[in-house]
């Protein structure tokens, strides 16, 4: 099984009887070797279940819900093994508290693999205690007792009891060690593998206040921010007299946006009795920013620096294996190409926001955060406040995509709240603030050369990768792994790297690094397949060879070539891929892309039509994925895959890019940083899963990367033009 997430023998369940005859189970799970908990066996309460006197069941949801469905999915695992009916279950969002719940984070598609066993074991252990209690009461063997839908049955005697009626007796049973509890066999699953709609769906459709931005508290005040337009710039001087004269304005507070050293300030927060008043007051604010030499940073400068870097030798090596120069010299055919992609913003539809209340030396936050634990640490640091003086309520989140793994909005509202103690304050970024103060997906450039032998086999591969970093290290999300496909399958490989300087903060955007690397490498492989005279699936299958495991290296996990082969073969069948190379610029084309990331294997076939005017219409996308043995919630799994596919298309075909001029971000709103609209979305995204005997893994990310090269390769099939630069512009494509 999935060793890193197996729970240790120190994991156990405790049961207690609460007031009102409520049976409460608390699972303490020691997650052995989970890096996120510090690499040590930390014992944390990772789940709770309560059985009420009316036999309804409350299950705690502990992870941030960003629309990925985790608030429904994790409780499904507990409910399955507890053997209750899903309609009996009520979900309660827990507080953010990593001492109690361990890692509460929505990132890296990790919630599923981390929780798959522990959540089931929690439910199974609780069920076992109820069975033991019933068997003791009835004087029968526990093995003769069955359960279903929250009831215990003894068929030979015809006796039945609800779980609730056994509360007192069960609370006195010695809890079993979690890793000894038998789990249900797959064929008796009644919840896992069945489609369950989101637990918040009814409330969403009534407009109930679920999201961070909906937080309303008595006596609340509102904050808008005027942040230095150039990252790392600071407030030189400011004049807020005109602002303070505006009716409704309460305070102007200099704060640190979270990217500067402590004690420096780069943002002015205006606090008022309505957000609109605060936002309007910004125009009356006079600020002199201290920008130093930060205006040097611009999109044009980066492009020139990248070109210069690519002309020279790399600053360092990511992978040097075999002798790539000899490999290329001995090749019958070589192919070279340069690829690049821009900075990208996240643009969650709910703008960044956070609500805070500072009172009696303690801070309460209502935070739409994908990683509240790291937010707590940063807030504690900037306010010099002990971590246990900070309470964090987790709200529903109007889109994450990695943006809310960062905690700038928590750090900011904490400082504002401290300046207006006793008043709850809700800070909201205007959309332009949200676009211009993001943690961006870093841009990158690649100069690739590959060699094919006389049989058209890829034998040598060289890449010079240019992105951003300092002191020979990449900045956040600018990493490239030495296992980048197909490096592990080739004898002679050189991945060199050079880093440019930037003042932009960077961050993880859904399928971080993969969203860029899949485009580059799967598009380039399509060029190589063409040079070899075969189609891309055939070329990739040839590279994969025999089914085997390629070793994990550094942060890169094992790669199972058999699982890769299976999804590729299946998508070709599913889409009716005929294996032929395109025969000319017919305006219609199909493209293929495969990628392994975030523990999921995905292969996709995309059909495109390109009009003479250059309009790109994606007609249909076929997706086949392997995320292990089970698809826990199929309707949600399909949604996640469809959403990932649309997200990949948005990243590539509608002009998304972040430009920088004189140090500042150029784009401001959806007119300059477009989101995908319904008329541009593919009419059909059909999804199929193949199962494999491995623990299930997450779906937030791995379906995204392959769709971008599937699109560029389809455009080549339709038009004969190679897209080597994102966002896609057919004017820049190479015929």
């Amino acid at each position: 099984m999935n060793a890193p997430f197996e729970i240790s023998r120190r994991s156990f369940l405790s049961a207690s009887l609460l007031a009102g005859a409520v049976l409460s189970f608390q699972a303490r799970l020691a997650l052995a070797g989970d890096g996120a908990t510090g690499g040590e066996d930390e014992t944390v309460l990772n789940a709770f279940v309560r059985i009420n006197p009316d036999n309804s069941v409350i299950i705690g949801a502990k992870n941030p819900e960003i629309g990925q469905g985790v608030k429904t999915m994790l409780p499904m695992l507990i409910a399955e093994e507890l053997d209750v009916d899903w309609d009996q279950v009520h979900i309660e969002q827990t507080l953010a508290d990593d001492k109690l719940y361990g890692r509460q984070s929505a990132g890296g598609s990790r919630s599923t693999p981390v929780n798959w066993l522990p959540m089931r074991q929690t439910g199974a252990a609780a069920r076992q205690m109820l069975v033991t209690a019933a068997a003791a009461q009835w004087g029968v063997a526990p093995a003769s007792v069955t359960t279903a839908k929250g009831m215990v049955h003894h068929e030979p005697s015809g006796r039945s009891a609800t779980y609730a009626s056994l509360a007192e007796a069960a609370s006195a049973i010695e809890p079993p060690a979690l890793d000894t509890v038998p789990l249900k066999p797959d064929d008796s699953f009644r919840i896992i593998g069945t489609s369950r709609r989101g637990v918040d769906t009814p409330a969403i459709l009534q407009g109930k206040p679920l999201f961070g931005i909906d937080t309303e508290l008595p006596g609340m005040v509102y904050a808008a921010i005027e942040a230095c337009p150039v990252f790392l710039g600071t407030i030189g001087s400011f004049d807020d007299a005109a602002v303070k004269a505006i009716k409704g304005v309460i305070a102007v507070v200099p704060i640190n946006s979270g990217i500067l050293p402590k004690g420096k300030f780069d943002t002015l927060a205006i606090v008022a009795d309505s957000w609109w008043t605060a936002q309007q007051a910004r125009s009356q604010l006079k600020v002199e920013w201290d920008l130093g030499d930060l205006k040097q940073f611009s999109t044009e400068a980066y492009a020139a620096q990248a070109d210069a870097a690519l002309e020279g030798a790399p600053q360092g090596d990511i992978l040097k294996k075999g002798d790539v120069e000899a490999g290329l010299a001995g090749a019958v055919k070589t192919v070279s190409a340069r690829y690049d992609y821009p900075f990208l913003a996240h643009c969650t539809l709910e703008p960044q926001n956070c609500t805070g209340l500072f009172e009696d030396g303690a801070l309460t936050l209502w935070a739409p955060s994908q990683s509240p634990g790291s937010g707590r640490r940063q807030v504690s640091d900037i306010l010099d406040l002990p971590q246990d003086a900070i309470t964090i309520h987790m709200t529903r989140i109007g889109g994450g995509f990695g943006r809310r793994l960062m905690a700038d909005y928590m750090v900011q509202v904490a400082q504002i709240a401290r300046a207006v103690p006793g008043k709850p304050v809700k800070m909201i970024y205007a959309r332009a603030d949200d676009v211009r103060h993001d943690y961006y997906r870093p841009a990158g450039w690649h100069a690739l050369t590959a060699g094919l032998d006389k049989d058209g086999r890829l034998v040598a591969l060289r890449d010079h990768f240019v992105s951003f970093g300092a002191d020979g290290q990449p900045i956040r999300a600018a990493e490239m792994e030495e296992t980048e496909f197909p490096a592990q399958l080739l004898p002679d490989v050189h991945f060199g790297v050079s880093y440019l300087a930037t003042n932009l903060p960077t961050g993880w955007l859904r399928a971080p690094t993969s969203n860029a690397m899949a485009f580059v490498f799967q598009s380039f492989l399509d060029e190589l397949a063409e040079a070899a005279g075969v189609d891309l699936p055939t070329f990739v299958l040839g590279l994969l060879g025999e089914d085997r495991l390629l070793p994990a290296v550094g942060r890169a996990p094992q790669f199972n070539t058999g699982r890769a082969r299976a999804v590729i073969e299946e998508v070709c069948k599913f889409a009716g891929w005929d294996g032929k190379r395109p025969t000319g610029a017919s305006g219609k084309g199909r493209g293929f892309g495969f990628y392994f990331s975030h523990a999921g294997y995905f292969a996709e076939v995309l059909d495109v039509a390109v009009s003479e005017a250059g309009d790109i219409v994606v007609e249909k996308v076929h997706v086949v994925g392997d995320i292990g043995s089970h698809v826990i919630n199929p309707i949600n799994a399909e949604s996640q895959v469809q959403g990932s596919v649309l997200d990949g298309l948005a990243q590539s075909m509608i002009g998304q890019k972040i430009d920088q001029s004189e140090g500042a971000i150029v784009q401001e709103n959806f007119d300059s940083f477009p989101l995908l609209r319904i008329e541009t979305a593919p009419r059909e995204v059909v999804v199929k899963f193949v199962t494999s005997p491995y623990p299930p893994t997450g779906l937030g990310e791995p379906a995204l990367p392959p769709v971008i090269p599937a699109l560029t390769n389809a455009i080549y099939a339709a038009t004969g033009k190679r897209v080597r630069s994102l966002p896609i512009s057919l004017d820049n494509a190479v015929a």
């Binding site: 009316d54 036999n55 309804s56 629309g67 209750v84 009916d85 899903w86 309609d87 009996q88 839908k149 929250g150 009831m151 609800t162 489609s195 709609r197 989101g198 918040d200 769906t201 009814p202 969403i204 459709l205 009534q206 407009g207 206040p209 679920l210 999201f211 931005i213 909906d214 509102y222 309505s274 609109w276 008043t277 643009c347 969650t348 539809l349 709910e350 703008p351 529903r396 989140i397 109007g398 889109g399 995509f401 205007a430 959309r431 309707i635 949600n636 949604s639 469809q642 959403g643 990932s644 649309l646 709103n669 959806f670 989101l675 995908l676 609209r677 319904i678 008329e679 979305a681 593919p682």
Partner: protein, 190 residues
């Protein structure tokens, strides 16, 4: 002070009449179902019905709403029974849910004037931005909603909110101390 009707209630806003309706609804009326997404009338998350027309509430001022009849997502139905609400549940055309209220309002306005919209008409009438990408499911959801509105289909999606314990117990035997062993639970579609 601007006076208008919001979800069937007369309201007088003690605010600058130039305040956009969106912020009056959210900050003063506590109606936070109407969302702020872009502030420029582009994303559609703030769409409300004003005298029956779907309008972007970030672009209209309180002054312009004087005497008008505003319906927000909270007031579209008392029990989530509007056909568009039902169909959005049934088709699970929701991911994060932030764009959903604006989409539902636009869908409701469309069905009010066209009970049998074509796919193209739906795409045109609902230009709302959905960052999560529910579009492949959205057209089907609105078409189903139209069928419900025309009384050609009924949806038993989720139990209505506020279902009584007694009603729930009829569907879920385990919720009663002494369940009726005979009937199988009725699938709720959940």
């Amino acid at each position: 002070m601007p006076r208008l009707t919001v979800n069937d209630r007369p309201v007088e806003f003690d605010m600058d009449p130039q305040t956009p309706l969106l912020w009056a609804l959210r900050d003063a009326a506590n109606l936070t179902g109407t969302k702020y997404g872009c502030g420029e009338g582009d994303c559609g998350a703030c769409t409300v019905l004003v005298d029956g027309s779907a309008l972007r509430s970030c672009l209209i001022t309180l002054a312009e709403c004087e005497g008008r009849f505003v319906v927000t997502i909270e007031g579209l139905s008392s029990d989530r029974s509007h056909p568009v609400q039902q169909a959005m549940v049934a088709e699970q055309a929701i991911q994060c849910g932030f764009c959903t209220p604006g989409i539902v309002i636009n869908g409701a306005a469309l069905l009010a004037r066209n009970s049998n919209p074509s796919e193209a008409e739906i795409r045109q009438a609902i230009p709302n931005l959905c960052r999560c990408g529910v579009y492949p499911r959205l057209v089907r959801a609105i078409q189903r909603a139209a069928a419900v509105a025309r009384r050609e289909e009924t949806i038993s999606a989720a139990p209505a909110p506020g279902i009584t314990r007694e009603d729930a117990a009829r569907a879920v035997p385990a919720m009663t101390p002494e369940p009726d062993p005979a009937p199988e639970p009725v699938p709720t579609g959940q």
